[in-house]
């Protein structure tokens, strides 16, 4: 089985073949000796890759596995090539995000973009007040604003879309 994994922005082509014992795994064509064992809750795992031991915690989100290793969490999205039917055509990668979402609920206190604006990566777009702090949400890449969906004073929920880019 072939999988394409985006782990925190880096792409890996991984194959997994079932067999007696641990499955046969390759990463970008290179065989990796893998032993993968789940704890009882199915949310914690012990992974050994080429004898390296990793303590793994999993949080599932829609279309996303958040994989926590020592002191670090990777957002991993997996494309199952068989099901997606795109068999390694390279469509996964640094896809430009077309929406600005708020990572937390809160109160919109400032909106600094309007439809038609050309924004640059790092530009402040919307400020959301939460946890007693003013949190400035910024553009992740250069883009053109198509639509602004919030106004100051509005209460937003986690993952609400604030701005749509072209």
């Amino acid at each position: 089985m072939k999988y394409t994994v985006d782990a925190g922005g880096v792409r890996y082509d991984i194959t997994v073949e079932d067999r007696e014992g641990p499955p046969a795994v390759t990463v970008n064509g290179r065989p990796v000796a893998v032993d993968f064992a789940a704890l009882h809750d199915g949310r914690h795992f012990s992974l050994i890759t080429d004898q390296k031991s990793w303590d793994v915690a999993l949080a599932r989100e829609p279309d996303l596995y958040r994989i926590t290793l020592v002191g670090r969490t990777f957002a991993c999205s997996v494309i199952d090539d068989t099901i997606a039917g795109i068999k390694g055509t390279g469509t996964v990668g640094a896809v430009k995000k077309r929406r600005l979402r708020t990572p937390m609920p809160g109160l919109v206190t400032a909106v600094e973009a309007k439809a038609g604006d050309q924004v640059k990566a790092g530009d402040g777009l919307v400020t959301v007040e939460a946890m007693k702090m003013q949190n400035e949400l910024r553009a992740e890449s250069d883009a053109t604003v198509k639509e602004v969906r919030v106004r100051p004073g509005q209460v937003v929920d986690k993952n609400d879309v604030l701005i749509v880019f072209k």
Binding site: M1, Y3, V5, A7, G8, V10, Y12, I14, V16, D18, G21, P22, P23, V25, V27, V32, V34, D35, F36, A37, A38, H40, G42, R43, F45, L47, T49, K52, W54, V56, A57, L58, A59, P62, Y65, I67, T68, L69, V70, G71, R72, T73, F74, C76, S77, V78, D80, P103, M104, P105, G106, A130, M131, K132, M133, N135, E136, L137, R138, K158
Partner: protein, 505 residues
């Protein structure tokens, strides 16, 4: 001694105070807002009383509700923790009016040292140097300009009632003065209901060094050494240590004496902190006093062996300190990392949600003061600090290495935390050499790097392999289950439980 104490706070500091209570045989009582019904501090308490809805004004800041809970539970005393009502004279008065003991300083000392202008005057009268500044409030730009004329720009406008960076403005040029003064006063009015602003010379690249003092009601005042709190972000401390890596013995001695002098002059009783700025040349200036327990008190506990919360309780109960300055022996070095529910890989934006995996570090000389645990919900209603990790070592280097080890063990999933940021600081060569100032984070961390000693590529690859194998297991179960939705609720949950066990031997 008190039999029962109400802790008018939440999170890690409420748990910390209750731990001291339990060790003293005192029954700890919690109060909670609705969103905190199953929070750690409620589950840790012996009794728990509901205050009201989540907003602090209707719960942890609602003096009447807290007093009502205190009466209902029949406590002898109230500990305010830090933040919330801890520096509120009205609350301290209300506690006393209810015939209970406020575990903190006398109202008079709180009012005197809590006001920055009055505290500065008190320090000066005690012969302690203060940052050059105006002795009174400035109400017109002209007054501030005149002051700047004597000390030079940049200057700092500060709220006399201030704290936490609110009502504070750096002024680089005279043209900025009128607007800055207006904005600072407006912020101060909103935040503190007190618009008085004064001006100070801006000390550039300062270090923030504070002294812990303990004073009893019998005239004894001692200090427990200093804490270096220069690693700050948005005027908030994020890493603290004791001792300071840069203080020489003579300066330490003079600052300790100055701290005691300010506490005495302010009529202070209980645990308090005297904050100083130290300029690059090594000169120190009184900055302000904190009339309560500090977030960073554990580093002092680790190097002195003294439990500050127990001392607070005993002092409030009228007992003498029981230790003199000569009894205080400093051992080794301690560091604290404040773990915030913020995403260091995404501009430190707050992170809310449910904790889905939780494991605390422990082992030799590691301490965790946490206010969260497995399945806890981190909400947006309160301060984002979720835990503190404290590591001790015989030397600062050992403490840093131990902290890095402990941070690596700490697993919090479901919310983003500042753990990766702290790991990066522990690996930072300037930090390890002690070359720090309050501008350290701005200068060193555009965005934090990776944990020391771990090769990022290895780690990322392991995460990718884990993701592929989890997906593979999901697919297999999906096939077994006859093609049901992969996100099909209970089917998958059950499958996860049964199916995702180990492959082979």
């Amino acid at each position: 001694m008190f039999k029962k104490v109400l802790v008018a706070n939440r999170g890690e500091i409420a748990v910390r105070i209750m731990r001291a209570c339990r060790e003293m045989g005192i029954t700890p009582v919690a109060v909670y807002s609705d969103v905190d019904r199953t929070a750690a501090h409620v589950r840790f308490a012996h009794e728990a009383y509901r205050l009201g809805p989540p907003p602090a004004a209707q719960s942890y800041l609602a003096i009447d509700r807290i007093i009502a809970a205190a009466r209902a539970s029949g406590v002898d005393a109230v500990h305010p923790g830090y933040g919330f009502l801890s520096e509120n004279h009205d609350f301290a008065r209300a506690v006393e009016a209810a015939g209970l003991t406020f575990i903190g300083p006398p109202v008079g000392a709180m009012a005197l040292l809590g006001d920055k202008l009055r505290a500065r005057a008190t320090a000066q009268a005690a012969g302690v140097p203060v940052v050059p500044g105006t002795d009174a409030e400035v109400t017109a730009a002209g007054q501030a300009a005149a002051f700047a004329g004597t000390v030079g720009y940049p200057i700092l406008l500060k709220a006399s009632a201030g704290g936490g960076g609110k009502g504070m403005r750096v002024v680089e040029r005279i043209e900025e003065l009128p607007a800055a003064l207006r904005l600072a006063a407006a912020e101060a009015r909103t935040a503190f209901g007190d618009e008085r602003i004064y001006a100070e010379k801006l000390i550039e690249r300062p270090r923030h060094v504070e002294f812990q003092v303990l004073a009893d009601g019998h005239g004894n005042v001692i200090h427990l050494g200093e804490r270096e709190c220069s690693i700050q972000r948005r005027h908030q401390k994020v890493i603290e240590e004791s001792p300071s890596a840069l203080l020489d013995g003579n300066t330490r001695k003079r600052m300790g004496e100055a701290a005691i002098a300010v506490a005495r002059a302010g009529g202070y009783v209980n645990a308090g902190t005297i904050e100083f700025l130290v300029d690059p040349a090594g000169a120190f200036y009184f900055l302000e006093a904190n009339t309560r327990l500090q977030v960073e008190h554990p580093v002092t506990e680790m190097v002195t062996g003294i439990d500050l919360v127990k001392k607070q309780i005993r002092i409030a109960a009228g007992q003498p300190l029981g230790v003199s300055q000569n009894d205080i022996v400093f051992r080794g070095a301690a560091i604290e990392c404040r773990i915030y529910a913020e995403d260091p890989l995404n501009n430190f934006l707050p992170s809310v949600g449910r904790v889905t995996s939780y494991r605390e570090p422990s082992g030799p000389f590691v301490r965790v003061d946490a206010g969260i645990g497995m399945w806890c919900e981190v909400s947006l209603h309160y301060d984002p600090i979720v835990a503190k990790v404290i590591a001790w070592g015989r030397t600062r280097e050992v403490a840093i290495n131990r902290m890095a080890r402990a941070l690596g063990e700490y697993r919090i999933a479901g919310i983003a935390t500042t753990l990766p940021f702290h790991l990066a600081v522990m690996a930072n060569e300037k930090f390890r050499r002690g070359e720090i100032s309050t501008r350290f984070i701005d200068e060193e961390f555009d965005r934090p790097g990776l944990p020391a000693g771990v090769v990022e590529e290895d780690m990322r690859l392991a995460a990718a392999v884990a993701a592929a194998l989890i997906k593979h297991g999901d697919r297999r179960r999906q096939a077994e289950n006859g093609g049901g939705s992969a996100r099909g609720g209970r089917w998958k949950d059950d499958g996860r439980r049964r199916g995702l066990r180990r492959w082979g031997a």
